[in-house]
Subunit: 355 residues, 2 copies
């Protein structure tokens, strides 16, 4: 399927140009073989001759490889004059192999469970086989991108000298799992969802709308609403913001794709790398690792990030307080974007450590 464009919301017309890496029959952690699996990716800049300037930037839940383009380019923290930035699409993200683009018997409601490790193993093949890169300059990500960042750092410590995890953890907190249970229930509650065997994702508009309420609640802080910070985005009321911004954002997406990603998010955990001990797994990470929680984040609280950072041999903690909470990296407030960019720059130019 290399080079094949996707349909609708997940098309190049909507998401910008991408390329595709053929994974062949890809054996998943769940024990299923995904036939003709593909990994979509978007690149910025040029791989240098010595192949030491690749920065890997996987995306968050509901995102695509172009979601975080604003942090990339000449003069941006991911400066394309210096770095070759590779933004891989999540399995289940709609551009890589996903419920929305895979034929039977793995289509729609019968797409197999995928894991954060599956994404990282697919990305490993991309950077090794397609680009011949033996060591990344860095890996970084936000939310589910942070989960992939942790998995990269513990699984391939010799390849990851630098890393930054924004608003994400190495192991999903239980409270966050309760949120995921809730938002999955909301998506599935729509009778039109039909156990995942709808013909058009737009028919599941009720489930998508309900699901959006959960993100209106937990994606932002109390202060976001108390201080009416949505006003700076040009909305008239909080309901206007919720409808136009949050509902509008999720409305065109595919529910099965979202569910596939959410189940991965729920199960995020690097502790199996060390017999179930999270501190021991974190202790194996040799990278210069920047842990960047967002103050007031209801998904990945500062406390959990601090706890994890304490077990990283070369951990650096940078807390960014913001009323935008988990969604700070969406670029909603210029002051948040500045602080996030500053940490990216600090990490990218920091000394790297490997085994």
């Amino acid at each position: 399927m290399t080079g094949t464009d996707r349909q609708g919301y997940y098309s190049h017309a909507q998401q910008g140009e991408h390329e595709y890496f053929d994974l062949g029959g890809f054996v998943l952690q769940s024990g299923y073989t995904l036939p003709n699996a593909t990994l979509a990716y978007r690149t910025h800049g040029t791989l240098n001759a010595v192949k030491d300037n690749l920065v890997l930037f996987p995306h968050m839940y509901s995102g695509t490889p172009s979601s975080l383009d604003d942090y990339i380019g000449p003069g941006k923290p991911l400066d394309t004059d210096e770095y070759f930035v590779v933004c891989p699409g999540q399995l289940g993200g709609g551009l890589s192999s996903s419920p929305s683009n895979t034929p039977a018997p793995f289509d729609r409601g019968q797409f197999p469970a995928v894991a954060i490790a599956d994404d990282v193993l697919a990305q490993y093949r991309l950077v090794s086989e397609r680009f011949g890169v033996e060591q990344l300059h860095a890996v970084l990500g936000w939310s589910m991108g942070a989960q992939q960042t942790y998995e990269w750092a513990v699984r391939f410590p010799d390849m990851v000298p630098r890393a930054a995890a924004f608003a994400g953890t190495a192991k999903t907190p239980v409270h966050n799992q309760v949120f995921i249970d809730l938002h999955l229930e909301l998506l599935r509650s729509d009778p039109a969802f039909a156990d995942g065997f709808y013909t058009d994702s737009a028919d599941v508009h009720l489930g998508l709308r309900r699901h959006a309420i959960a993100f209106s609640l937990e994606g932002f802080t109390h202060e976001w609403y108390r201080g009416e910070h949505w006003r700076a985005l040009g909305f008239a009321t909080s309901n206007d913001f919720r409808q136009s911004f949050i509902r509008g954002y999720f409305a065109p997406m595919d529910p099965n794709n979202l569910i596939t990603q959410a189940n991965k998010w729920w199960a995020g955990d690097i502790s199996p790398h060390a017999g179930g001990s999270l501190p021991a797994a974190l202790g194996r990470i040799t990278a210069h690792f920047f842990v960047v929680p967002f103050g007031g984040d209801s998904f990945f609280p500062v406390e959990d990030c601090e706890n994890e950072a304490g077990h990283l041999p070369h951990g650096e903690l940078r807390v960014i307080d913001t009323p935008a909470g988990h969604f700070a990296m969406f670029g909603l407030r210029p002051q948040d974007t500045e602080r996030i960019s500053a940490v990216m720059t600090e990490m990218l130019s920091s000394p790297g450590y490997t085994i």
Copy 2:
């Protein structure tokens, strides 16, 4: 309907003995007249001869007048050797007039909207007409009980010398309204809900289960799950706790009753008493008023409570930090119950202020 017992979950067999006050045709804030309206109440102790020992203790969302019995009795903070404690049932609470016990054309899905002010006006008639009391010793409550406490204090300042609002605000925060939107959506999502015209509330088990997830999420803090504080209650896993405790608690309730209460909760706001200014409305409260937020409460955050307390002429702020968050008053942790009881005792024995 005075003296008529209710059915099922809302019966005396389930909820303990109650009495009923006949409100007659009761005109609601929403402009509807509820025919033969009744206010259920439960009393503890004895009204003294000079009628100055009545303590009013309205209940929270989903509760009944017996929900907080544990704080009442000889040697308890609401000491029945000293106080005559009156626990009124919310309109919509299942014992007072509610969707579950009102005949057509106000039954089930067509019960009219009620407001916090309706509860307080009904309670005013109870204490004035039935008990001949002109001034309460105090009013206090938790969550929606706190909302009623604020409404009492601003509406009848000459009757309320002392008050305590536990984990509640004078105006519902917007973030909390998003939560209420979410949990209403969950209740209504069950096809068996049938727009409120189900015949047996047990048929709406899917909606009740979904609704319970929202409270598993926001009723507790991250630390509740992170620190596995549910273990002290004897549960084996967090799922075990969520199913047995949270789902089990809500399962026997009537969805229309919950929705009626939730809409009241959403609209909680004393600012109309002062032309829409919350600070001005708070400034009219003459009572010695104890504001008692619970640390980590996702419904009524400490910040909102602090802001409101700052406008109370005789406000006292007592923050109770606890991993149980909003649900601390359920008696889940003895140390929380002790601190809550201590504030109750302090408030009840404090100097009272009136106009």
